[in-house]
């Protein structure tokens, strides 16, 4: 892990209004993520996990506070510039996979590289390498509807990582997967985190994800209630205890 700051939130609040009611999805949040971190944001439903990810990605704008992605302050960028920044710097993994249904596994993985305008040879090299890495060799031409949930999520991971982003945001990535598939996929993301130095930020309830985290942030009512680095790395007893504690508190 290097010292380079990938994401920085300062005094960030996100307030939604429903009629006369004010809902503070994020409340005075300060957070810094550094390169190579493998971070889980945990907390009960409605605690602000997904809003935190959306604000960090520039998909949602904070009502108060400032957000930086590397050296760019998102609030000062236009919608178009934020979109270009996401294309270059952020990978997404969603609970519902969210692949483009009319594209094959290979084309889904290649999609961002095409948008980035990489030469065909470079695209082909990267896509074949990543699909091999996520274990989808031989399934390249299949469309999402022809793949299992686990395979679809592998395509989503390939798509998220193939463009070598600084940050991967994963919102409940294992919620629709069985234990074995989830474990295999988490192992894969962990490996990619280590080999590529990519920062991962998960939003999850899943103790299986939390057990692998090296930093767990617990959110309650839009605030960071607990931000705890897990010493000793993966699968340590301390990490397990933290994960279970967080899971119990939900």
């Amino acid at each position: 892990m290097s010292d380079q700051e990938i994401v920085r939130l300062r005094n960030v609040s996100r307030i939604y209004r429903q009629g006369d009611q004010e809902i503070r999805a994020l409340d005075q949040v300060d957070l810094t993520l550094r390169q190579g971190e493998f971070v889980v944001v945990a907390g009960p439903s409605g605690s602000g996990k997904t809003t935190l990810l959306n604000v960090a990605a520039g998909l949602d704008s904070p009502t108060e506070g400032r957000v930086w992605l590397k050296d760019w302050e998102l609030g000062k960028l236009s919608r178009r510039e934020r979109a270009r920044l996401r294309l270059q710097e952020i990978g997404f993994i969603f609970q519902a996979f969210n692949l483009v249904p009319v594209l094959s596994a290979e084309e889904n993985a290649e999609f961002l590289l095409l948008l980035q305008g990489l030469p065909a040879e470079e695209r082909r090299r990267r896509v074949h390498a990543i699909l091999k890495e996520v274990g989808l060799e031989g399934l390249e031409s299949r469309r999402p509807a022809e793949l299992s949930g686990g395979q679809q999520q592998r395509v989503a991971v390939a798509r998220a990582i193939v463009a070598e982003p600084s940050l991967v945001l994963a919102d409940e990535p294992t919620a629709n997967l069985d234990s074995q598939t989830a474990s295999s996929l988490l192992g894969l993301m962990e490996k990619l985190n280590r080999s590529h130095g990519t920062t991962f930020l998960f939003s999850t309830h899943d103790p299986r994800v939390m057990k692998r985290a090296r930093r767990v942030i617990r959110m309650v009512d839009g605030r960071i209630d607990q931000d705890q680095p897990i010493e000793g790395g993966l699968q340590s007893s301390a990490a397990e205890a933290t994960a279970e504690s967080v899971a119990r508190n939900e």
Binding site: L59, R84, L87, P101, L115
Partner: protein, 414 residues
Amino acid sequence: MKVIWNLGWRNLWRHRKRTVLTMSTIALGMALYLISLALNDGAHQQIVESVVRMGSGHVLIQQKGYHESRGVERFLEPNQHDDALQWLQESGPGMGVEHVVSRVFASGLASSADGTSGAMLIASDPGKERTASYFAERLVEGDFPEGDSAQAVVGQGIARKLALRIGDRVVLTAQAARGGELASALVRVSGVVRTGVEEFDEMLVLTPLSTASTLLQMEGGVHQVAVILNDAADSGRLADLAARAFPDLEALPWDRAHPEVVDYIRIDNAGNHIFSIVIFTLIGFLVLNTLLMSVLERSREFALLDALGVTSQQRFLMVMLEATVVAFLGAAAGLAVGYGGHLYLSIHGFHLETFMSGDITVAGVAFDPVIYSELSARRVLQTVSLVFGLALALALVPARRAAKPGEIGILGRN
């Protein structure tokens, strides 16, 4: 750009039936519009032809003021007549002149043993009239006069009123062009014509030019030199040239000579425009509904594309590309079907007798109940532009919807 095109193209064929249905709607609308335009233009052209080939012409050269007054004394002197014919002979070939017919017109009386009736005398060279006008085609009995013989073709109505048969004698009485004295001439009926316009048939008497010239004491003069062209569109140009060549005379194109026909065509066109607006509005709503539906049901995908870094401009472009392809293929199919329909109707015609019986008269002329369609390149271009423009204008609504920021919450839902 390639990736946006690729995605748009694949999206189009995701719901093949719906895409084909949308294209078919555009194609059908365009085909029907083209056919209706072609029939309309064909009908208008037939009306103009009926007018100019029933005792008139695409361009009329006559004495100044004759069009207003129709005074029998306002005729072209023989030298003026000769000059006009000479000029037309020289200029005609380059102007698409098909026929030149010199005519004399007079109002008078026609009398037979059975009575007297008002008559409208039209005199011309029978040989030229036979080929230049529709009178010969409308003969129901007998034939045109031979040469300069003292014969006449009479309208069916006047023949009925005066109980005239082929070979019967009829006395024509009219005011002479010089001096204003009444004069008479005896002619024999050589044929009976039925133009389809009852009022016309009840007065029409066609005679050789020499008969009328003697009767009206015009001594070689004529009231009008009528020019029939290959293409009515050249009328204005020829009339302008003739007016410049003969500043003392009046040279009228058909649309100035028959403003009632122009008014009818204008009113008919206006009605057709209103009908087209109604049809295209209905088709437009149908197409808009389908395009909008296809975007709304892809809300998740557009939110995903937004999240992945596809800009709003690129999403807008993608939907516009999809609409362009649908419009292009729909318009191509519509053009093929519409042009095919036009070709069929230009050969076999559209038979109005199916819907109505009896003679049809439009703006005072008999109208052939079989309409042969006419389709110009300008009309095709207009229609293609209209359909394309409409489809793309309608696509702006769903395209703007797709360009809006994605509903991010939707991505988390299963």
